[in-house]
Amino acid sequence: MDLIWLIPVLPGIGAALNGLLGIRYFSKPVAAAIACATMGGALLLSIFAFAQLLGAEHREHVVTLAHWIPPIPLQTVDGLGAFEAPWAFRLDPLSGMMILIVSGIGFLIHLYSSSYMDHEPRGGYVRFFCYLNLFCFFMLTLVLGSTFLVMFVGWEGVGLCSYLLIGFWYHKKSAADAGKKAFVVNRVGDFGFVLGVFLIFFTFGTIDFREVAEAASQMPVESAAFGVLSTICLLLFVGAVGKSAQIPLYVWLPDAMEGPTPVSALIHAATMVTAGVYMVGRNAVLFSHAPMVMTIVAVVGGVTALMAATIGLVQTDIKKVLAYSTVSQLGYMFLATGVGAFGAGAFHLMTHAFFKALLFLGSGSVIHAMNDEQDMQKMGNMKLYMPTTFITMFVGALAIAGVPGLSGFFSKDEILAKTFVASPWLWGLAVVTAGMTAFYMFRLIFMTFFGEYRGPKWGGDAEGQADGDHAAAADDHGHDGAHVWHGPHESPKLMTVPLMILAVGAAVAGYVGIPPIIGDFVGVGNAIEHFLEPSFVAESAALAEEGEHAVAHLSHVVEFGLMAFSVLIAGLGIALAYHLYVRRPKRAVELAENWAGAHRVLTNKYYVDEAYNSTVIKGTMGSARGLWAVDRNVVDGAVNGAGWLTRALSWVSHVLDKYVVDGLVNLAAWICAEGSYIFRRGQTGLIQNYAVATLFGVFACATAFLVVRFMG
């Protein structure tokens, strides 16, 4: 376990190799091999470390590499402290789970990308893997970081990689815009996050997670007043809102779909966007001491879940649907953490990572097959052409819809149950969201894989290509050298194998967290929740609370009822989708026309982007231009005015000087010149005249001598 620092560093090395040498020298396979190998190494190390962690008595391990910022004395609330930040990594159940998710899914997506990105030119291909590896480096740093600042390194680093990968096709203005938007919106969140970190240091005199948790657990729960802990949590939550795309900072995530699809799968579904949830879970002790902020978290999560789901209902871009679904599911996770079910939140984080990565990769496969077409209205009946993709995506859709037996069911059900205990209102929101989720996911499946093929015709003999198997066998790539599109086709093995693995994961990942109500029958406990528990409580508190773990539990009957109800709702959603998009497709169009107003509001995403544009962005740019004008005209104008005044004064002085002062000087010179006329005449320039003068001097001296001698 002492080598856990190698887990992030390995992909870092891969990124450095590809970035420094690869872009110039490596061929495509070499670059992909390096990237995949480093990720594979990280995955192996993660599994190894995780296994050791499972076997260890004390499930926490901290590795300190070196000083990053050495201790510097600084005032805190309790007198003089020292501000310091070591390069320290922490492996505990929560980060253990996270490294498995990140390196596991990261590895699969690397494999997938090596095929998906194949028609990029070599330079872009290598660059892509460099960024992807760099992302994994930062993401693993984020989850393994032992202090707020090390986490912040990863936190900002993944933001950078997200920026680079969204803007990967930088020649598209929309992609570059989306990247910038993501980074700047994230920065707004970071603004809160760093202030939170400052306040944490000021309050506790340390920024180590464990020490902060210990210190916070000694403080009273701020249920009545909005105290310092609440302030900290609120600030941190602002950071989480930015990173995890919650209201009001969710706007960047749908735009982020401009990036390549594997990126959307890895960064904008499975890992980076869950960092906010992870961070809140990491500071569970702090948050549980700030119930008012917890309420805010839950409400923000619930409302985001619902709002994003409603937008997802009407989107036609396959990736946009998934993006809003991601926002919605992240809202779910925050809802869970907000009601105190940190374990449930983390559990959903894990299952979501599987099925959402699966769905994104599947959609990538479809987009690939459709020659980069993302509009679902131009697809249809794809199950014929790409059965593997269809089956795996279908599993993913079932999982996210919460169909019993698949992973999403377990995690979602747990959240619903916990929410019901905390607040039936929020539960209501969540259940409605669950129904919508089922609906729009199956709308996606049905529009894409069922019905009539609505896409463009392709070159060659359409009949011959109609057979999917034939297409796959004839040309496992689909795009030959001349870039002639031969119609939809199944993706190559490198893409479908990760899909299959993820499908298995999406199906079975839930069984680590079987709810007690079922688990009691089979004799299996909720393994994951129990496993994660130590990460969510302070160490001292954990010992104290060992025995009495009985928070208000629901009765079995109620729980069964809730479970059944949510399954029913999900089923209704699926049925409705089937009705509208398979049996009577016309009906969907009619509905949209009848409710045109609502439909327009939803397709335009509640006009939130427009609102931000006209307020925040226009305001900032306006003030920028205004201040620039002020700077040019007022501040600089004052300087130039002073300069002008000085010059005016100097002109006056100049006149005075020229005619009065200089006049006097010239007068003196004139007098001298005129007076010297006689003397000037003596200067003949004849050498001999000067010699005569000399001689005359000698003569005068001699005469004087004689006079003195004889007369005197």
Binding site: T684, Q688, N689, A691, V692, F696, F699, A702, L706
Partner: protein, 171 residues
């Protein structure tokens, strides 16, 4: 008595030739008179028991410097008379008068002062390990006056370099 005759003879020759030097119209004549003057001065040195200087006088002046003058006179081969142009402001006549007056004055002072103090002060020469004019002179030059002597040689070197630089045509 012989010394007196020699002195007067030489004096007349020297002054006469000197007058010829400054009055001759032709520069070549001037140079020839100058040579003669120098030779006479050398003879006077012999009278004054300064044999070494007499030789030097002949070698350096009559042999060296005058040849130099001759060369220059030959080189400066003027089509027109060199003294054609005259600046109206020059004070030659005044200078001439002044020079005559000076001569009278100085002669007067000399004669007067020699008559008043007949007793000549003799400063015996420092004991010298060598005999003879040339040897003693050499002794002095290379002992007490070594540094001035060397400086004089440096001066000559500098003058030589300078003269070459000045006279060289395309520099």
């Amino acid at each position: 008595m012989a010394e007196t005759i020699v002195f007067y003879t030489l004096s007349v020759l020297i002054l006469g030739l000197a007058i010829l030097v400054v009055t001759a119209k032709n520069a070549v004549h001037s140079v020839v008179a100058l040579v003669m003057t120098f030779l006479c001065v050398a003879a006077l040195y012999v009278v004054l028991e300064a044999e070494f200087l007499a030789v030097i006088q002949i070698l350096v002046y009559a042999g060296g410097i005058v040849v130099l003058y001759l060369f220059v006179v030959m080189l400066v081969n003027l089509g027109r008379s060199p003294e054609e142009h005259q600046d109206p402001r020059r004070l030659s006549v005044f200078g001439l008068g002044l020079a005559g007056a000076m001569l009278l004055e100085v002669a007067g002072i000399v004669v007067y002062s020699y008559n008043r103090s007949a007793s000549t002060v003799t400063a015996p020469a420092a004991a010298s390990p060598v005999q003879g004019n040339t040897q003693e002179l050499g002794w002095l030059l290379y002992t007490d006056y070594l540094i001035p002597f060397e400086l004089a040689s440096v001066l000559l070197l500098v003058a030589m370099v300078g003269a070459i630089v000045l006279a060289k045509r395309d520099l």
